[in-house]
Every structure is written in C-alpha cells, then in structure tokens.
C-alpha cells in the first residue's frame, strides 16, 4: 500500500517537473546521444543553457526551479542525473539521506539589491525607510534564506523595517527578477549574475562587505542516475570545463575558499 502511495507521488512530481521545467537541450540530436537530465537552481538558467548545448557526451535536458523544489522532487523519488543547487546545504542534506553522491562546490555568487535601471535607490539602507516596495525569495529557497541572513546582519530593527516593505515572497529568484523588470516592485534581493542576465534593465546595488553572505553552489550526481558517466563528466565540466567558463562570463565567482 505504502509503495503504491509513493509511486503515485513520483508520477505526480515527475509530471510537475515536466510541466514546470524549462527545457534547454536541442531535440535534434536526441537519437544519437543519451539524454542527461540536470535539475538546476533557477539562478543558473542563462549560464547553463548557453554551455549545455555544447556538452559532448549527452544531450542535456535542463530543468530549472527553486533548489528547494528540485530537492523535494528528488525526495519524492524523481531521479534526474545531476542536481545543482544555489547552496551547499541542500546537496549535503540529500547526500546524508543517500539520495545523491558526494557533493562538490563549483561556483560562488554575490547577493545584491537589484533595482530598475532608472531607480534612485543607491544603498540597502534606503530599503529600511517606508516607501519602496521590496520583493524577496521565499524562506525555503536559497535566495530567500541568504536574504534573511543579510537582514539578520542588518540588525533587528533595520531588518524588520525592510521586511515591512516586502510585497511578495517568490518561489525562486527568477520570480523576483520578473517582478522587478515588470515594474511591480522597487527593489529585490537577487544574485549578481541575475542582474547581469537582464541586459541592463536592472542595476545592482552592492551590499557592504559585512552584510555579504557566502553564496556557494553545490552539485552532485544523483544516486541511481540513469546516466552516471555522463553525469560525472557534466559535474567536471561545471568545475573546470566549458560550463565553468560560461559561469565566469555570467558574473559567477570561483568556488569560495
């Protein structure tokens, strides 16, 4: 009975993943090369889409969403080949649960306040005053928890003042970017690479050093991955290959430390 219940969950989440995921990967070569399914954090969208089409060993199918949602899918039995998250906590937790193999750190990022290009907001302090509307990532998604780290470092009163201006907690960082590019909010906390990807529509307000959290991206081969060899090669590519260079060009940093 229980196993039936679980398999139902798998079916549903697989359908959900298929429905929600933006698929990169070209379909033309699908017959010749095996398909490698990569579940990746939403903030990796532009960088991985550009480099994965040139991956030699497999046709990469990318499924982007909040890292927490992708982790939940894996916990519900969905088996992509590779899981790339916007933190190291989620891959490590999945590793502890024996759902993914040993995770590795492949990139870093900076947290910034993104504002429309013509905005008058120049510092994070301006967000503590009443007036500007702010959009965050929801608490469960990495961008949301990094943001709450920043707010905690601002101090109780300042942090609460920013939270009072919040109008939406988005399920992933692209939701925050979308609300800003559509003019629905005045500022949002995103990664530096997200601002870069908007092609000048948004501007980044840098955080002071003391507020900057360590944003490290972890990647792991999923235990029982249908394409383990290609999955390992893809992880290597993220660390030192074509995708590593694509990440660098997209304003990601090298692994911290």
């Amino acid at each position: 009975m229980m196993s039936r219940g679980v398999s139902v969950g798998v079916l549903l989440t697989a359908a959900l993943a298929a429905g929600c995921g933006a698929n990169g990967g070209s379909s033309g070569e699908a017959a010749a090369k095996p398909a490698l399914v990569v579940s990746a954090a939403a903030s990796l969208t532009e960088a991985l889409t550009s480099c994965s089409s040139q991956f030699d060993q497999a046709t990469v199918r990318l499924s982007f969403a909040g890292s927490d949602e992708l982790a939940a899918q894996i916990r519900q039995g969905v088996e992509p080949d590779v899981y790339a998250a916007a933190n190291t906590k989620l891959p490590e937790a999945l590793n502890q649960e024996r759902l993914v193999l040993e995770p590795r750190v492949f990139a870093s990022n900076d947290l910034v306040v993104a504002v429309p290009a013509d905005s008058e907001i120049r510092s994070v302090d301006q967000l503590t005053r009443p007036g500007p509307t702010v959009v965050l990532g929801s608490e469960s998604v990495p961008i949301g928890s990094y943001t709450r780290e920043v707010l905690a470092r601002l101090g109780d009163r300042q942090g609460a003042a920013v939270l009072a201006n919040v109008r939406s907690n988005e399920p992933d960082v692209k939701g925050v970017v979308g609300k800003l590019t559509q003019g629905a909010a005045d500022a949002g906390f995103v990664y530096a690479s997200d601002v870069d990807a908007t092609g000048g529509r948004l501007r980044a307000v840098r955080l002071p050093e003391r507020l900057q959290p360590t944003v490290a991206y972890g990647v792991a081969v999923v235990d029982g991955a249908p394409q383990p060899d290609a999955a390992r090669a893809y992880v290597e590519d993220l660390i030192s290959g074509r995708c590593a260079r694509a990440l660098e060009q997209a304003e990601f940093g090298p692994p911290p430390g």
């Binding site: 139902v8 969950g9 079916l11 509307t133 959009v135 929801s138 907690n169 559509q182 629905a184």
Partner: protein, 267 residues
Amino acid sequence: MIRRGWFPALITVALAGALLFLTLPVAAVFLETSPAALADSLSDPVAQEALWLSLKTTTIALAIIVLAGTPAAYLLATRRFRGRSAIVTLIELPLVLPPAVAGIALLAAVGPAGLLGQSIEDAGVELALATAGVVVALTFVASPFYIRQAEAAFGALDQAWLDASRTSGASEARTFLRIAVPAATPGLLAGGALALGRALGEFGATLIFAGSFQGITQTVPLAIYDRFATDFDGALALSAVLVVVSAAILLAVKLVRGPDGLGVAAR
C-alpha cells in the same frame, strides 16, 4: 448481461483505466496524510490566512462575475447580431488560455509597466502584488466559465415565453429580472459553481501577476506550492481541504442540476 467480444472488453478496460488514473492521485492526498497531521497543519496561521484569503478573493471575484456576467450572457442569448459568434469566441478564450499566459497578459495589460499601467496608477489603484490583483486574476480566468453556462441557460428558455412577457407590457428589465433569471437559476448556479471551482484553484496567473505574500496575495494554491518543498505534509493537508471544497462544489451542482449537472444545458 454484457455481450462478449473484444470491443466491450476494450471499452470496459478504458473506463477502468480512466477511473483509476483520475481517482488514485486524489485518493493519495488522503492516504498519505493522517487526520492528526491534517488538523495540525490547518491550525498553522499561514494555512489559515491562505484559506481566509482564498475565501475572500473568490467571493469578491464571483460577485463581480455574476453581476456583470449575467446581463452580458442574457444579451448574448436573446439577441442575434453581426459579430455575435466572434464575441462569444473572444469571451471563451481565457477558458483555454494557459494560466501562465493569463498572468503575463494581465501584466502586459494592467501591470505597472503595461498598456493601462500608468492610468491605473494615476487612479490610485494598486493591482500588482496586491489583493485586488488576485481578484483581477481570478475574475479573468473564471468569468468565461460562468458566462458560457449562463448564456446556455438563458438560451434554453422558451423565447416565445419571454416575448409574451414583453408584449403583455412588462419592461425588458422586468422580464429579465422577474422571468428570465428565476427560470434560468439552476443553470446560473451551475455556472457560478464552475467559476468558483476555477477561481479557487487559480495558481499561475495569480503568482505571476499578484505575487505571493502571506495574508495579501498568497491564496491556498500558492501556499501549497510554497510549502511543498519544505513541508510536504502541510502541502498535502491544504490540498485535502481544496479537494473537499471542490468535491462539495461539484456535489452542490449535481444536486441543483441533476446527474448531468456540469454539462452545458441542452438547447
């Protein structure tokens, strides 16, 4: 006695397959959660605020839909004019529009940077990331369900009967309110229930257009999505509530309309 042969067997298997496929996921929502976990999750203030917000926004949206949709459907059902079928098709379009498209379309039309964004802002109305925006999204996606059903209900009325009312001296408005609406009530209720069901389940357009904020724009479907990653049991509990409410709506329609309640009324 069912006759033998491959075809009766095929259609029986097809029905059994369809039944299993459609009921198993719904059953799993209840099988995978316990009553205790359900009660626990529902006492959570976040869940309660989501339920309250869903109730509030769907009620307002339904009121708008019924008030504007009923006379509009009456016009479509009782008049024949050029371009009528084009208008009907345009009104029905949101029925088949993907919710994400509805969200983007609303942003493009009435979002802050959209076509009418400036005028709306000048009027002092805030839609994006506000409760009013949720109501707009729900009204947009749900109203065709009501208008379509209401038009069918009015269309099924005996036109000669309506004409008799008019020729006996009753005004058009009086004919509409005293004769047509009461006679079409079962169909209107069914349309209202369909629209309510659609509004209650609205997700994509709301998230894209109105965002997600506890107590302001986070309706039950958004709360389910928000917690499915971290609190799968909580997401199941909220889902169970929606299943029960949706089933109650369906049952109510069946009671009003008979077993074929959701079908478009025979014309």
